[in-house]
């Protein structure tokens, strides 16, 4: 009997004029960080095709904003003669600095664990592709001793504490029929770089479609000019800083001189 119903479902799917798909677009593909940047609202527009309205209602959507791929240094704190200090560094390569999910329901209700691990759904799996490289023998010993799982969770906890890793459920607004929007808040300390926005369409715990869009976050204006000058021409930048400080100090003295 069960075989019969699933067969029927398969037939009804194959008779559909087009395959089930999900498509996503961003209202803004470029986010500009200037002196007054205090975070941004990113709006994702999406559409589900190839499903009837009733079928659409039974699906789940997960949207993931992740990026930019960055390298981190993880050091374990150690106590030496009463004082806590950072130990040798273990390099963690290829982990996202920002990781935000929006979904219809909590992620563990949408997708099975091996799927979440495979596609990196949820903060816990955000750094699965990262590799660990110890800086020296002492760091290698610490890596052996703690293992990558503990380092990974330390990295995730640090990111969650700064608000860079967040999961939101109940965050998908369905519009007419198969149209949906997701509003994702980007924090004020969003790092500059390239991001990937991925959407996954799930039904009964199985992935049936996915799509991706690119997002870039750039410094602009005076912000960018200061940053570039400081990094490309540090001597000139240093001298300018001193000249500004000298003239500000002199101006203050002149202004208050009675």
């Amino acid at each position: 009997m069960q075989i019969f119903t699933s067969l029927l479902a398969a037939i009804s799917m194959s008779t559909a004029a087009w395959a089930t798909d999900i498509t996503v677009a961003l209202t803004q593909e470029n986010i500009e960080v200037d002196a007054s940047f205090a975070g941004a609202h990113l709006t994702l527009f999406g559409v589900i095709t190839g499903l009837s309205e009733i079928e659409t209602k039974a699906t789940d959507i997960v949207a993931v904003v992740r990026g930019p791929d960055a390298d981190f240094e993880i050091r374990r704190m150690q106590k030496k003669n009463l004082i806590w200090s950072a130990g040798p560094a273990i390099l963690m390569e290829g982990a996202p600095a920002l990781y935000l999910t929006s979904s219809t329901r909590p992620l563990d209700e949408i997708a099975p664990a091996q799927d979440r691990a495979r596609f990196g759904l949820g903060a816990a799996f955000a750094s699965n592709s990262a590799t660990f490289i110890p800086n020296n023998d002492k760091a290698a010993a610490i890596l052996m001793q703690t293992g990558p799982a503990i380092l990974r969770s330390a990295y995730i906890k640090a990111a969650q504490d700064r608000g860079a890793f967040r999961e939101r459920s109940n965050a998908v607004n369905f519009k007419k029929g198969a149209l949906f929007t997701i509003t994702q808040d980007l924090p004020a300390d969003t790092p500059v770089g390239l991001y990937t926005v991925s959407v996954y369409l799930y039904r009964d715990g199985a992935l049936i479609a996915q799509d991706e869009a690119q997002l870039s976050v750039n410094k602009v204006g005076i912000e960018r000019r200061i940053y570039e000058l400081a990094h490309n021409q540090p001597i000139a930048y240093g001298i300018i800083c001193v000249l500004i400080a000298l003239s500000a100090g002199w101006a203050a003295a002149a202004a208050f001189r009675r």
Binding site: A158, A230, L246
Partner: protein
């Protein structure tokens, strides 16, 4: 309202930063100190990365010292000859300090070393000041005991190349101010301070300079050393945030003027006792953070 700092790469509330600059400026005007040893910790406690706090504070001290030295130039209470040797020594110390800073940063130890340096210097200086001011306050009548200026330690007199410093009325070896300048320069580079809180007592008690030229000469030296430190930090560590410096400055200059006026109303010993307590409190905070178990056993920092 928020302002995004281009080098620290974080948003801050500009009014809080200006208020911090104003508060430290007020205290530095009131007590006649540079304020770097209060400003840098405050920035670190606020959440500015310690590397940026140290580099940026150097540029702010340039401005504060320029604004302070003009009065001394008018009163001719700057010993340029002595200042020159202090600057030369300070330059060497600052170069050494900035490179040491870079090495420590790469080794991940810079936060710990900054904290230890603050604990050592703040508790020593604060403790000495407190004891001294308490003694002065407990004396029923203020008796100014004249110091014996001619008493000079043997090793100091034995140093070669002794020369005359006319403005300071001294006949000493220039090795002494060079050495003292170098220590001050190193502290400036590592701790984000001007070094006045070490230089001023050292100039009075070690070099035995007349007190009236000490402050002006110290400010004169600090301008050059912190200017060099600013450039070095900008070059080696990309750690000078000019937006942060300008915010601090705008609060600092107004605070310093108001503080100088408020300071006139208080007695010198009371002022010193208050400052000593403040210095000790900041040192205690650093010590507390060093010895208590950190909230997270792992430090994760972006490369």
């Amino acid at each position: 309202m928020q302002v995004y700092l281009p080098i620290a790469e974080m948003p801050v509330d500009p009014f809080i930063i200006i208020a911090m600059g104003g508060a430290v400026g007020f205290l530095s005007g009131m007590f006649g100190v540079g304020g770097g040893f209060l400003m840098t910790p405050l920035l670190i406690f606020y959440g500015i990365p310690p590397v940026v706090a140290v580099g940026t504070e150097a540029s702010q001290i340039v401005a504060a010292s320029v604004s302070g030295v003009t009065a001394h130039l008018r009163r001719k209470t700057v010993d340029f000859q002595m200042g020159g040797y202090l600057v030369a020594g300070g330059g060497i110390g600052a170069i050494f300090g900035v490179y040491l800073f870079r090495y420590l940063r790469a080794a991940g130890q810079v936060e710990t070393v900054i904290s230890i340096a603050y604990v050592v210097f703040l508790t020593t200086v604060g403790g000495l000041m407190l004891v001294e001011s308490m003694r002065a306050l407990s004396r029923p009548h203020h008796i100014d005991t004249p110091r014996n200026r001619k008493r000079r330690v043997a090793w100091m007199a034995a140093l070669p190349f002794a020369m005359r410093f006319r403005r300071s009325q001294l006949y000493i070896s220039p090795i002494l101010p060079l050495l003292l300048g170098a220590i001050g320069g190193m502290l400036a580079a590592i701790m984000g301070v001007g070094g006045g809180f070490i230089m001023v007592p050292a100039m009075i008690y070690v070099l035995q300079m007349p007190t009236n030229v000490v402050i002006g000469t110290s400010l004169f030296q600090i301008i050059f050393v912190t200017a060099l430190t600013t450039i070095l930090h900008a070059v080696t560590n990309q750690a000078v945030d000019i937006v942060l410096a300008l915010l601090l400055l705008s609060g600092g200059v107004i605070g310093a003027q108001l503080g100088a006026r408020a300071g006139v109303a208080l007695k010198a010993e009371q002022l010193r006792a208050l400052l000593a307590l403040l210095v000790l409190a900041v040192g205690a905070r650093f010590l507390f953070d060093l010895v208590t178990t950190p909230p997270s056993l792992f430090v994760v920092s972006p490369m």
